[in-house]
């Protein structure tokens, strides 16, 4: 692709474009959520859609997540393909029954006779001092519960392809986008998230991880914002003569264990980077996926760089102390060598 053909979009615009194109193709797709109409979404991922599709298909809701996510389940079972937004994933506490007991289970309970083709998109992540009710990732919480696919893009190309795939999927998909990658005017954005995005509609396979940087000495596995931290750490390790491979999980459910195992089989070392809480989560699952399969490939005990098991603090110094960053990943490599 030559530079002149580059079409660099933020994740917010890539998501909006995917929804726009799918709504043009498929009249059963519609969007519900708080402030997704005139405002275009607090994170910009429905911007422009109200003007094109009107308030019937771009529906601002009351602050009633239990009602509108539950309604999305019912609409999905009745032939629609709703896209609903939970503004902050932290708000799942007020509406989780609709998510994990209805959305995630009705296909199973009905023996497959009721499909629930809906997308639940929700913002994740901290790093900007929004404290413990507005900064969480809770990836592991969603991925733990069976019946819903879970994806988390790290860049705009993946964001568009995943969104289109999610809307076409006959199963519910939880689409977790990171605020720090989104490209909002009021928050800094990781530069690596804004990449070329083809204009035409396309899908990315849900359940397929990507090797985003090849290497031979250590595998760093992450998702969302963590991928960018991993890539930065990999560049630093390269200066030390260490060749790090970076795997972007892209999807948590289904989890592409084959790609992870193949990478670790090659490098013999594994570091998992996760902005979610350390215990009982994604980092443990990735390590178990390797060790229970074939522990003999490991030349060193795996390491994880994850959020400690504490609520996310407000004060910048405390929050930054807790968050994963490239330094901590490089340090994890050093600890691995010292062991």
């Amino acid at each position: 692709m030559s530079k002149t053909n580059e079409r660099r979009l933020t994740i917010a615009r890539a998501m909006a474009e995917a929804v726009q194109q799918e709504m043009q193709l498929d009249p059963s797709v519609f969007v519900m959520g708080e402030d997704i109409g005139a405002l275009g979404g607090v994170y910009g991922n429905t911007r422009g859609l109200l003007d094109e599709f009107g308030p019937q298909r771009i529906r601002d809701t009351p602050i009633s997540e239990t009602a509108f996510i539950g309604a999305a389940v019912g609409a999905a079972q009745d032939g629609m393909r709703p896209v609903v937004e939970l503004m902050f994933v932290d708000f799942f506490g007020v509406c989780f029954d609709a998510i994990y007991n209805l959305m995630a289970k009705n296909n199973y309970f009905s023996g497959g006779s009721f499909k629930v083709p809906m997308v639940l998109m929700t913002s994740t992540g901290g790093g900007y001092s929004d404290a413990g009710q507005h900064s969480q990732c809770v990836y592991g919480t969603f991925a733990h519960l069976p019946g819903m696919k879970v994806v988390a893009p790290s860049n705009a190309y993946d964001a568009k392809g995943l969104m289109t795939a999610a809307m076409r999927d006959d199963s519910p998909v939880v689409y977790m986008y990171h605020k720090g990658l989104q490209g909002m005017g009021w928050l800094g954005t990781e530069a690596g998230a804004t990449v070329h995005v083809p204009e035409e509609s396309y899908t990315l396979e849900i359940g397929k991880a990507k090797v985003v940087r090849p290497g031979k000495d250590v595998t760093i596995v992450s998702l969302g914002m963590g991928v960018h931290n991993a890539l930065k750490a990999a560049m630093r390790l390269e200066e030390q003569g260490v060749s790090a491979e970076v795997v972007d999980l892209v999807s948590l459910v289904p989890l592409d264990r084959d790609t992870i195992r193949a990478s670790v089989a090659k490098t013999g070392r594994l570091i998992v980077v996760d902005e979610d809480y350390m215990s009982y989560g994604v980092s443990g699952e990735i390590i178990a996926s390797v060790t229970e399969h074939d522990i003999s490939v490991l030349k060193a005990a795996p390491k994880r760089v994850a959020f400690p098991d504490v609520p996310i603090p407000f004060a910048r110094v405390m929050e930054q102390y807790c968050l994963p960053n490239p330094d901590k990943i490089v340090e994890a490599w050093s600890r691995m060598q010292a062991a």
Binding site: E34, D35, G37, A38, L39, V42, D60, T61, P62, I63, S64, T66, A67, D90, F91, G93, V94, G127, Y128, S129, D130, A131, G132, Q133, H134, G185, W186, L187, G188, P308, D309, V310, P311, P313, F314, A315, R316, V317, M318, E319, Q320, Y321, C322
Partner: protein, 329 residues
């Protein structure tokens, strides 16, 4: 029930203190956030929800409360915290994320907790209702004095928690008052687009309890209505629901472009600013002299400046303090 002269002076003082506080925060908030606005930067990072214009609700209700009464507040809590008597120095320090803050910087502006005056917050819409009902239950069970007030926004009545908490408080006849601050906007969504009825006080009928709506963002009328509801609760006659019309003079959060507001709305709201209105009435009624009001204003400003200075001069927490306070010591 009419406010006494002392109460009126107290109400005006707290309204002015609250406004001065928000104005100070608004100014400092943009430090380090220009020329490119990034919420993560500056001495006060993160989201900031200011209460300019909503002061009458806080003072009209809290004029009837004492330190032992319980208040739960929202993501926009500063005016309520000030009126409830939360330690201003430590609240400012918390908003700056300093070690001297109410929670040592763990909570920030949406999570103001002061046990000395029984004040707590939640940043999640409607979720302060349950804890306020629970505090009322605790007072009833222990036969201890005190009432619990949950402040919520008008958008919060559409949360399931509202219905559940109201019914629970009513069926157990608890000393609880739900105060809806109706600023007519849920971020960008106007009340009439989100709520099936115009007057949420009518919902009280669903629980068999008194409900009253107060128009005009008027501290005198709010004082009257709240006084009645709180007296009822203190007398063991059960909960009440108040919906109070108020104005959000600020955006939903600092940095909000407010493109969703109809043209002219903001100017009209500024015209109706409750603080100059109360000032005029105090003078007209002969309840305060010009020099008394000037003294209240300068003392309030000095109080705020001292709190801001305390916050600025305080130390950051130690980074590893993040790992403490997860469990009870």
């Amino acid at each position: 029930m009419s406010p006494t002269r002392d109460e009126l002076h107290w109400m005006y003082r707290n309204m002015v203190t609250s406004r001065s506080f928000e104005e100070a925060i608004a100014k400092i908030y943009f430090e380090g956030k220009t020329p490119v606005f990034n919420m993560a930067n500056g001495p006060i990072p993160g989201e900031m929800h200011l209460s300019d214009g909503q002061e009458p609700v806080a003072v009209g209700v809290c004029a009837h409360l004492n330190r032992t009464d319980v208040v739960t507040a929202t993501h926009r809590p500063h005016h309520q915290a000030i009126a409830k008597g939360v330690d201003l120095d430590r609240m400012a320090a918390e908003i700056f994320g300093k070690s001297t803050g109410l929670s040592g910087g763990r909570g920030g502006h949406m999570h103001i907790f002061d046990p000395e005056v029984n004040f707590a917050c939640s940043g999640i819409i409607g979720q302060g209702l349950g804890p306020a009902v629970g505090a009322a239950l605790s007072r009833q069970m222990q036969d201890k004095p005190g009432v619990a007030v949950a402040f919520i926004g008008e958008g919060a009545v559409n949360q399931g928690a509202f219905h559940e908490a109201m019914n629970l408080a009513a069926v157990w006849k608890l000393p609880f008052i739900c105060v809806i601050e109706d600023n007519s906007w849920g971020i960008s969504v106007p009340k009439q687009s989100s709520t099936a009825i115009a007057n949420n006080a009518e919902r009280a009928a669903a629980y068999g309890i008194p409900g009253m709506r107060v128009e005009g963002n008027d501290p005198y009328a709010i004082y009257d209505a709240a006084g009645e509801a709180i007296a009822r609760a203190r007398a063991g006659e059960g909960p009440s629901l108040l919906e109070i019309e108020t104005y959000r003079l600020a955006g939903h959060f600092m940095g909000d472009a407010e493109g969703y507001r109809p043209k002219g709305e903001k100017d009209a709201l500024q015209e109706a600013d409750p603080i100059p209105r109360m000032r005029t009435r105090l003078l007209t009624d002969g309840v305060a002299s010009e020099s008394e009001l000037a003294a209240i204003e300068s003392e309030s400003l000095a109080r705020v400046e001292a709190a801001i200075r305390f916050a600025r001069d305080s130390e950051d927490p130690a980074p590893e303090d993040a790992l403490t306070c997860v469990f009870a010591a």
